[in-house]
Symmetry: C2
Subunit: 219 residues, 2 copies
Amino acid sequence: MSIVTIERKVLEKNDELALQNRKVFQQAGAFVINIVSSPGSGKTSILERTLEHLKGRLRIAVIEGDVQTDFDAQRVAKFGVPVVQIVTNGGCHLDANLVQDALGNMDLKGIQLLVIENVGNLVCPANYDLGEHIKVVVASTTEGDDKPLKYPTMFRQASVLLVNKIDLLPYVNCNLAELKANAFKINPTLKVFEISCTTNQGIAEWCRWLEQQVQHNYH
Amino acid sequence: MSIVTIERKVLEKNDELALQNRKVFQQAGAFVINIVSSPGSGKTSILERTLEHLKGRLRIAVIEGDVQTDFDAQRVAKFGVPVVQIVTNGGCHLDANLVQDALGNMDLKGIQLLVIENVGNLVCPANYDLGEHIKVVVASTTEGDDKPLKYPTMFRQASVLLVNKIDLLPYVNCNLAELKANAFKINPTLKVFEISCTTNQGIAEWCRWLEQQVQHNYH
């Protein structure tokens, strides 16, 4: 049996489990987003600002994925939301099976929005459906404007692009128009928000859009 | 045959090929570094500043690894050094076999320093020996100070840590002392340079150290 065959079987098995997760989400009435990016793009900071902004407006739960440590779950727990930490122990992406295990430790009853924060990796998580409604990719201005072309699969799979650290634009070598043009070359239907977790720029617009998706999910 | 067995066999095969690469490097007398980091940490910018600084001092060649595009090879070629681009086509790391292919397209005769720039990924490249003398990990201040603890394998495997974008420290949520303490917790023997590709801070020190390694390699 060749390695390619094995890999295909792994992905097929993953897709099966993702379908099961999708049914669980549907039954619970939860809208589910899978946040992906490079390490250090600001996924957890965005989640903190989002939880802060949507406090009292939406019932939110979080699944945190990390290669090691539960630092991110600790940060998120401060906002008083249910959170389960998955430590992959060296694994480079979350998969539907790991998420299924996490769901076994979480009560989705009444949850309107489930946020899954993936492992920091702009390559491998692109191929693993977790059962989410949408993937949200974060690209920070400090990473430069060429990332959509260099890591196209992730930007193709995502429905939303959060351009983070927009406040650092004056200090970094990143052309914002070019970054967005590159993203649209790969995925013309991407919804883009320019945000900063330091100044809160764009957080309200992003959260408003997210609330709308949750509303649509009920109808 | 289980997937774990397949993975072990893949790594064993890789180690065999890495050993062959290592012999090729030894015969050519080339010191070889493997630069690894998250996407957008500044690997290519560091390489540009290094090539600029060492111009006329060392004979350097470059192997560029990318998931897609040959942007980085184009940037490096401007410095008049031999460069071979490896496009992994979605693959999340370089392996010894890909590097062996690249070496088939490169004349190492007279080359004193070969720089291999890996795919932007802080997880997967950690497990693949390419035959290099040392791994150099780049962490940029914009990624925060917790990365060594969250991605420990890479920091454990590396001999050198380049803390890049040191000029952005005033604007980002990163405690430099904490970042270094976290790195030393994982790997107490790490050699650390604080650098900026914008202001050139630390580039001379890094290049001086690199020159010393090349000298040692001859003796």
